[in-house]
Amino acid sequence: MTTIRFGRLTAALLLVAVLTLGAAALSACGSGDDTAASSSPSAAAAAGPITVTDDSGVEVTLEQPAEAIVSLAPANTEIAYAVGAGDKMVAGTSYDDYPEEATALPKIGDFANPNVEKIASFAPDLVLAAGGIQADLRGKLEDLGMTVYVVDPKTYDGVIATIENVGKLAGTEDGAAAVTAEMTAARQEVQDAVGDLPAATTFLEIYGKPLMTAGADTFIDDMITIAGGENIGATAGSGFPNFSTEVLVQTDPQVYIADSGSMSEPGEIDARAGFGELTAVKDGKVYIIDDSIIARPGPRLAEGLRALAGYIHPEAETAQ
């Protein structure tokens, strides 16, 4: 009895093992072919291994510049195109909408639910992942032999550093340098304009119901500070915390900026309960900002920073 059952179990296990091995062998062949095909035209820029440290503090090493890049976030896609690695992009996310060419890329799912099998099927030599909800994805992708760079900068300069790193990994340092020069210039320009002005208390709404803001240790907080604002959200902790409406009204920000885009539609801000009394509403300093230039840690933050400065210190532009 037991021997029969044991025999059957062994047979079953063997069958499973054989099928698994077979499948693994097949997929290995498949991916081998793919990499061979896509990396054959490279060879040109072989100058030893490239090592950079990503935003999660992990050292990322590539033997040669990446030739097949998969992006797991719209910001990462923007970075890749901006540094001139657009032709190396093999797949992106269904949220990718900038630049225009990126919309035509094959999709690996969306930012929140990237499909690991799908990512692997493109046999990328570099995966540009995001932090937060994608944190446990790194292990899975690395187990499959992929190299992962996590884009999760906490400051404006951190975004610049990450863009430089992606440029190095993709072998497009010159393109990256042009982008970071523009971002640094925007920073300098804004700092010169608002430098001596007193900081204006600013609330940045990430989401309206329930009210959520950008807290400390975020590149948005950093940008508000650079643009001459005092971020009220920083009092609520780090990351993207929810925020009490009562405290908001009592704090009475001088400037109210609401993020708008695919994720949130702020609607009529001055019509919300208790908002009519806000100084920002009375002074007409309520602004809607496109979330793709403020909430995506990519090259367009330069544009976002200039916009923030214009909202927080409209008087500065005339002073310049």
Binding site: K209, S244, T245, E246, V249, A273, G274, G276, E277
Partner: protein, 332 residues
């Protein structure tokens, strides 16, 4: 039997009314934006006047939020009592009839269609909730009578189905996922006077069952026995089901899905005043309101300026209290 049950219905109701009054005063007096007692007294008599931030905090933010919480808590507790006793099932809560999942589906459709005007989402939630009730109703109707067990099963099934559709919509329109998740989680954050107006509609539906407490008491012995005792079972059942459904749909449409109050408040009150509906219904109504007001007070103050989801607080407050009362009730 406990002290409350022995002292009769009215003292119990008065006691819980007092408790609710204390909760309301606390909830209005305390908040993440500190206002002194003197200031609140002043604001209370000044009425809502423009041009004053404290006044806006008190009259436009805190007051409607507290009132919405009270009404939603009361509605869920009354709905819980009705459904538990109708289904003769202690695990029943206002959400088993599928009404809440239907409401969630309605709200999700509103969010996905980007009807950013919030009252549209509320209207769709009410429509979704009542539509589900109608479907479940039709499923359970046989030869002119409603089979409550079929209704319970149909309700649970439709609830699963509606949740599945919500999930599909979340994945299809995934840029709206955050909005849908926050709606489902339930909150009183940012609720204003328009929400209070919707919640006020629950009052007649909470009062209505108070006129049928005798029928509800008899029906606890089963439908057959109730028929023998001359209760118009089908009519009463229909009235109670619609009442509970409307209460749930309205509550969910203004606050999202907040668990535990509708399940546990009726049980707690039963342990205190006994199963007689003349005491159970009004005391549950007042206790449900009190519990939700306190839960919301904690949710907005404990980690201010951040907020804890109110459903988490109702569970944290309710679960230990319930276990304690269960143990005490068994010993007595």
């Amino acid at each position: 039997m406990s002290k409350l049950a022995r002292t009769g219905t009215w003292p119990g109701i008065l006691l819980v009314s007092g408790m609710l009054a204390v909760c309301l005063v606390l909830a209005l007096a305390l908040g993440p934006a500190p206002l002194s007692v003197g200031r609140i007294w002043q604001l209370l008599f000044a009425g809502p006047v423009p041009g004053d931030l404290d006044n806006a905090i008190f009259w436009q933010i805190r007051m409607p939020r507290v009132l919405t919480a009270a009404l939603v808590g009361a509605a869920l507790a009354v709905s819980g009592v009705i459904l538990q006793d109708l289904f003769l099932n202690p695990l029943t809560d206002p959400y088993v009839t599928g009404v809440s999942s239907g409401a969630a589906l309605g709200a999700t459709i509103g969010i996905v269609l980007h009807l950013s005007n919030l009252s549209w989402i509320t209207v769709l939630a009410i429509v979704g909730g009542l539509g589900t009730l109608a479907i479940v109703w039709m499923a359970a109707r046989r030869r002119g009578r409603i089979d409550v067990f079929v209704l319970l099963l149909a309700g649970v099934t439709i609830a699963y189905l509606a949740s599945a559709v919500v999930t599909v919509l979340m994945i299809k329109a995934n840029q709206d996922m955050t909005a849908i998740i926050y709606w489902l989680m339930g909150s009183f954050s940012g609720r204003g006077w328009p929400d209070v107006r919707i919640a006020l509609v629950t009052i007649p539906f909470m009062v209505l069952p108070l006129f049928f407490t005798r029928e509800m008491d008899i029906m606890l012995q089963g439908e057959k026995r109730a028929l023998e005792l001359g209760v118009e079972v089908e009519r009463t059942k229909r009235m109670l089901l619609v009442t509970a459904g409307v209460l749930t749909a309205l509550a969910v449409s203004v606050s999202g899905i907040i668990g535990f109050v509708g399940l546990v408040v009726p049980h707690i009150v039963r342990l205190l005043v006994g199963p007689g509906h003349r005491g159970l219904l009004p005391v549950s109504l007042l206790a449900g309101a009190s519990m939700m007001v306190v839960a919301d007070l904690l949710s907005r103050t404990v980690i201010a300026p951040n907020e804890i989801p109110v459903g988490v607080v109702t569970t944290f407050v309710g679960a230990p209290l319930f276990v304690y009362l269960l143990r005490r009730g068994r010993r007595a």
